[in-house]
Amino acid sequence: MAITASKTAAMDSPLYAGRRRRNAVAKGLAFAATIFGLGWLVLILGVLLYKGIGGLSLSVFMENTPPPGAAGGLLNAIVGSLIMTILAVLIGTPIGILAGTYLAEYGRHDKLSSVVRFINDILLSAPSIVIGLFVYEILVAPMGHFSGWAGAVALAVIVIPVVVRTTEDMLSLVPDTLREAAASIGLPRAHMIVRIAYRAAQAGIVTGILLAVARISGETAPLLFTALNNQFFSLNMGAPMPSLPVVIFQFALSPYAEWQKLAWTGALLITVTVLGLSILARSLTSARKS
């Protein structure tokens, strides 16, 4: 009896009411913040779909970027983006995987690894426009002209840290008992890594590569002054090469309605690609976990 009485007294006290009120307010704010955050995602994707889908037609994939005032497509930009992305992955992935392997296998605790790990994290979030300036200084300025090669190298510099990071993380998840079992039957370390560790971490490493592709397929800043742009269809890596993001940048800021419409369509294509790749990457790892 006495206990219940004191308990209700405590519940009615202004202190307790105040605490409960604060709790309710905080919960409400948290809920509102989540709606706010998700609201932007819905809004941006909604606008993108609305504006981009109208311009989507076969000619987008069949025709090159038009001169002002004419109709056209995005073929040269799509092809340019594909070529530079593939090249960047081909250049960046081997270096990334090997460096990640060193961090996770050979030099797990040595001094070099902790320095490389730190530097890699810095590179991972370094402003991409600075990467563009770097490649301009080492490739474009000495060669004297913009080129598709420079664009691919700039993208590769962005690929490397992403792949290093995921490779190291995924190899670290491979149980040491597997490594010990391999060592106990006399398998040398290199063979153990290639045959056992890589195989166990396969899905994770592929995820890392997919995430890297997702990251570079929307990158604009590093391409602006490396690959520049090209109004025409070009497979010449030594010459300026068009890419989807740069074309979007140029067309969106132009005063021509046709160009702006193409920019929205291109933006939709990039977003669908990037979201598709991230979802694919995510499903790869989650399938492994479960």
């Binding site: 090997l98 490389v116 300036l133 602006l224 002054f225 993001p245 920019a263 991230s278």
Partner: protein, 338 residues
């Protein structure tokens, strides 16, 4: 593919049956294995040294490119507001100012909102919804910045111009400080709009790192707090937040690093005007936007070099911010490991 494994087992079998004949081939196989092993070791080591070389290369290339401008203007480059390609007089003050102000606006909004979303996701959200909402917010982080840019230019800036900015200007017209901050004609584009778009971009970063960090709090701590009668908010405020403080600050710094270096989203809506204005509604510029807008059109070595010098300053600022972020996140990991 399985040749190495066969080699090893053959060696073992032969070694057991015919020791004398096998010993020569066994030595050869072992030598080959040792060679491939050391080659592979060298390759991986070389690749990780390449990562180091990459960062040093970035720094050296930027310093080399920036040298003419820095040599001409000296330290005054940092404090000069003028930016005149015709007279070739360049100063970095306006872009630095713009970068800091837009990032500050972004963090001012993204940090509290991000923390509250993470609070919702870790403490309040029904289990069923946690994963989908978390994934949705991470997807927001994956959208390329040019998409935010084009959306900001065509949708968000007109909206700001028509509704938000006139409202702010009218409301604060007679408030002392705020009337200068929110003054001038509503252009739609400008520092304020750029800051808001950056906030939307940074939000998912702050959220997902905070959530990961909050999830790492040992349940026992939270249970003990609930046990003595704390409310959900009190558990979060007095147990979860203090425990994860270092990690949360590290997450903020990562978000800040992204906001400082963000290029495309800002370039579309900042207005690219090299002057410092007290009003947030005025067009301005940031370091990255100046480079993106002017680099290909820059004529003359000094102009190009001044832009590279801007890049060097940006890299230096973000390097410091990111280094602090990593240091803090590392400290949290060590604390968790104990």
């Amino acid at each position: 593919m399985a040749s190495g494994e066969r080699d090893v087992s053959e060696v073992a079998l032969k070694g057991a049956s015919a020791p004398a004949a096998a010993s020569a081939s066994r030595a050869a196989v072992l030598r080959r294995l040792r060679l491939t092993d050391s080659i592979f070791h060298g390759l991986t080591r070389g690749a990780s040294l390449a990562v180091l070389a990459l960062l040093s290369g970035v720094i050296i290339a930027l310093i080399y490119g920036a040298a003419p401008a820095l040599g001409t203007f000296g330290f005054g480059f940092l404090f000069d507001e003028s930016w005149n390609p015709v007279t070739e007089r360049f100063g970095a003050l306006a872009p630095i100012f713009g970068t800091l102000v837009t990032s500050f606006i972004a963090m001012l909004i993204a940090v509290p909102v991000g923390l509250m979303v993470a609070f919702f996701l870790t403490e309040l959200c029904p289990m069923m919804l946690r994963r989908p909402i978390g994934i949705a917010i991470e997807l927001l982080a994956g959208i390329p910045s040019i998409i935010y840019g084009i959306w900001g230019l065509f949708v968000f800036a007109p909206f700001m111009q028509q509704y938000v900015q006139p409202l702010f200007i009218d409301t604060f017209a007679n408030v002392p400080v705020l009337s200068t901050l929110f003054a001038g004609p509503p252009y739609g584009i400008g520092m304020f709009t750029a800051g808001l778009i950056l906030a939307i971009m940074v939000l998912p970063f702050v959220t997902s790192i905070s959530r990961d960090v909050f999830d790492a709090v040992p349940p026992v701590l939270k249970e003990a707090a609930y046990g003595v009668g704390c409310t959900t908010w009190e558990v979060f405020r007095y147990v979860v937040l203090p425990f994860t403080r270092v990690g949360v600050i590290g997450g903020f710094m990562l978000g800040l690093g992204r906001a400082l270096g963000e290029t495309m989203a800002v370039t579309f809506v900042i207005g690219n005007a090299h002057h410092i204005s007290a009003s947030l509604f005025a067009p301005g510029t940031t370091i990255s936007a100046s480079i993106a807008n002017e680099f290909t059109e820059a004529v003359g070595d000094l102009y190009t070099s001044a832009l590279v010098a801007l890049g060097l300053i940006l890299f230096f600022i973000t390097f410091c911010v990111l280094a602090i972020a990593r240091y803090m996140l590392m400290r949290l990991q060590q604390q968790g490991g104990k």
